[in-house]
């Protein structure tokens, strides 16, 4: 066999599993009035008040230590809560990226002062971060970023440049941006650093970008001579590339790479159950959806266990994301075919709206967080082909 072996099978510890019923009860009440086509937005739907409500219940910052306001419960507790939030279609976008990767990043690379300053607010749902990676001319080729943080003589940086496709920039307090602090674009991965940018300061303009469904969750963020203090730097100067890559294991392996179409699945299941009879094709599709969800969940849990052990399973995470998003994209296509298999059927409007939204957004599932082609390139390197 190759060096790229499967990770061991992992299960959720009982103590973390115990969180589930509490979360379910909370969500049943909080989302009672929310129609499926809204819930289908999954982790693209945002409601800062909802995120703060989760923070009050202690369901944010689950992997962060108690001394920074976290729950010190670890990644499996977060897995349980994430699963329930996503399956229900809760509007989690405001805190999602912050909780998933900004918190763990600051804990891992931040100074003590940075940890004390940011982590308690993250755990309380009072501070939201966005991630500044892509630029107008730097997409999949992330090492080509041009946004520059020029070191100033007395310490600190002057920031100029532009980030794009930044999710939720308009409602976030700060951005963790990958920028060039030394060298030129030819230096590629060298000379890149991560900086925390307060988005409320002068010199920053945020232009929301409307997506094809009519939402405006992502934005273009322009920096025009923005002055950053010395402690804006997170981690080491010049180590931005390595830090960003470590973050990707958190970003790519979780339930959000499996469950993006799950509100559609459950809405369709509800419709099927309401029918007097179901076609054999429909029953087979339901079974296939269950089967693949099971194996994907097992893979995702294995990666979670690896994160708990302190490893950075970047290639396994890429594998889960590609396989998971393929599943997420198969769902709206297959359910479209199933629903219209009988031209005389009259499916509920809410189901049709949920389907329309999910079909229209499905292409993004394998774009966000690293495209399918980039991930497969990473896997190819992982198995020793590059």
């Amino acid at each position: 066999m190759t060096s790229f072996s499967p990770l061991p099978y992992a299960t959720i510890p009982a103590g973390d599993e115990a969180l589930r019923s509490e979360v379910k009860a909370f969500l049943a009440e909080a989302l009672a009035a929310m129609p499926p086509e809204k819930r289908a937005r999954s982790w693209m739907g945002s409601d800062p008040a909802f995120s703060r409500a989760l923070g009050r219940r202690g369901w944010l910052g689950l992997s962060l230590p108690k001394r920074y306001g976290g729950a010190e419960r670890g990644f499996f507790a977060r897995f349980v809560i994430a699963e329930e939030l996503l399956a229900a279609g809760a509007p989690v976008a405001a805190h999602w990226i912050t909780d998933r990767q900004s918190g763990p990043l600051i804990l891992r690379y931040g100074t003590e002062a940075q940890r004390q300053s940011y982590l308690p607010k993250i755990s309380a749902g009072e501070m939201f971060f966005c991630i500044g990676m892509s630029e107008p001319n730097s997409g999949s080729d992330l090492a080509s970023v041009r946004t520059r943080a020029e070191p100033l003589p007395g310490g600190g940086y002057r920031l100029n440049g532009r980030k794009i496709w930044t999710s939720n920039a308009a409602i976030c307090d700060a951005m963790i941006a990958l920028v060039r602090t030394s060298g030129t674009i030819e230096d590629r991965q060298r000379g890149l650093s991560q900086v925390i940018v307060d988005l409320k300061q002068p010199g920053i303009s945020i232009r929301p970008i409307r997506d094809l469904s009519g939402d405006a969750h992502f934005a273009e963020v322009t920096f025009d001579d923005v002055v950053l203090p010395a402690d804006a730097l997170i981690g080491e100067e010049g180590a931005g590339w390595e830090q960003v890559n470590a973050e990707l294991a958190f970003e790519r392996s979780g339930p959000e790479r499996i469950l993006s179409s799950m509100v559609l699945v459950d809405t369709w299941l509800g419709y099927l159950k309401s029918l007097p009879a179901r076609s054999r094709d429909d029953v087979v599709l339901v079974g296939r959806l269950a089967a693949h969800l099971a194996s994907l969940r097992a893979l995702s849990l294995s990666v979670t266990a690896s994160l708990v052990a302190g490893d950075s399973p970047v290639v396994h995470a890429a594998l889960v994301k590609d396989l998971g998003t393929t599943y997420e994209q198969m769902i709206p296509a297959a359910i479209s075919a199933a629903i219209a298999a009988d031209p005389e059927a009259s499916p509920p409007d809410a189901l049709m709206r949920t389907l329309a939204y999910t079909v229209s957004m499905a292409p993004s599932f394998s774009l966000r967080g690293g495209t399918r082609e980039i991930l497969r390139g990473m896997i190819a390197r992982g198995i020793g082909l590059r």
Partner: protein
């Protein structure tokens, strides 16, 4: 025995005994005898038999590495079926018979004639045949045997069949679980072979594995192999659960079709030759998909269970019925 110890032992044993030449030579009970004698010496036969009944008392999950190894070497003999059968026979308080035991996928009775569809039946000394909500253990010597000519299963016919009864033994489910695990193993071997070939074979002045089009295919293959292994694992951890076994047979069966296609695409013409061992694995996958219900059969059963369950969501169903 620890997990890795079992895996290492099984791998060594199979590499030594189940060579491609040996696999090519396995046609019937006579040709199976010497290979089986070596396998029987290994001590794996009673791995699943309870300690109180003289076995090693291992779980299905603990013996999964043995099934993966038999799959990696495309062993056509029903080693895993014999292991499962011996444990079930012992736990029913019956005497464990000598020899190879196959597990029938289905059976029907007509007057006093019992007709069963038996994967690997051509090698079997004994057969466990579905009977109501259990199975009966029958001697192959008492049956007339008819092969389909392509190795998927035999049709075996008993007149006035009679043998010890194993209440509660689900032959189809057991067979499907074993098949899924061995197929996951066969896919691992197929992947390793294909990866090696992509690194060795040069065209346009460089190994074909340097081309992105080939890399992307091997990346997909990696994903499918990992997914199949995870599914086989789930079934091994819940071996009597219809839902987990169904999920495994569906995931593994669908992956098998794609994995075999990629393996052959990357190998090109050489992969179509008798000489190369690749076809031993692709043929193993072909047989596996056809045995004990295809992915469509199990998807329908699983889908029926989802729609009939009181679970509020798909995730709730999967969580509570498959992850045990």
């Amino acid at each position: 025995m620890t997990d890795t110890l079992i895996a290492d032992t099984a791998d060594r044993l199979m590499a030594e005994i189940v060579t491609p030449a040996a696999v090519r030579g396995l046609k019937d009970r006579v040709s199976a005898a010497p290979v089986w004698a070596s396998l029987a010496e290994s001590g794996f036969l009673d791995a699943l038999v309870a300690e109180a009944q003289g076995g090693a008392g291992l779980s299905c999950a603990e013996t999964l590495p043995v099934l993966l190894a038999t799959g990696r070497h495309a062993l056509p003999l029903p080693l895993a079926a014999t292991m499962a059968a011996r444990a079930a026979i012992a736990s029913a308080g019956e005497a464990i018979p000598e020899g190879i035991i196959a597990i029938a996928a289905s059976a029907r009775s007509d007057d006093d004639v019992l007709l069963a569809q038996v994967p690997a039946g051509e090698f079997a000394d004994m057969v466990l045949v579905p009977d109501g909500d259990g199975a009966i253990l029958l001697s192959a010597d008492a049956a007339s045997l008819e092969t389909t000519g392509e190795g998927t299963f035999c049709r075996m016919r008993w007149r006035g069949a009679n043998g010890p009864r194993l209440p509660g033994f689900d032959a189809l489910l057991t067979g499907a679980r074993i098949e899924a695990a061995e197929m996951a193993g066969a896919m691992e071997a197929m992947f390793a072979t294909t990866l090696r070939y992509a690194n060795d074979r040069s065209q346009f002045g460089k190994p074909i594995g340097k081309f992105q089009a080939v890399q992307q295919q091997l990346a997909v293959m990696t994903e499918l192999v990992h997914g199949a292994r995870a599914a086989a694992n789930l079934a091994a951890c819940a071996p009597t659960g219809m839902e987990a076994v169904a999920a495994a047979k569906v995931t593994v069966g669908e992956a098998a079709a794609e994995v075999a296609a990629i393996a052959h695409a990357v190998h090109g013409a050489i992969g179509m030759t008798e000489e190369l061992d690749l076809h031993l694995l692709s043929d193993r996958l072909r047989r596996g998909r056809l045995r004990y219900g295809s992915e469509r059969y199990w998807a329908e059963r699983l889908g029926t269970a989802v729609l009939g369950s009181g679970q509020a969501t798909m995730l709730d169903f999967v969580r509570t019925r498959i992850f045990l």
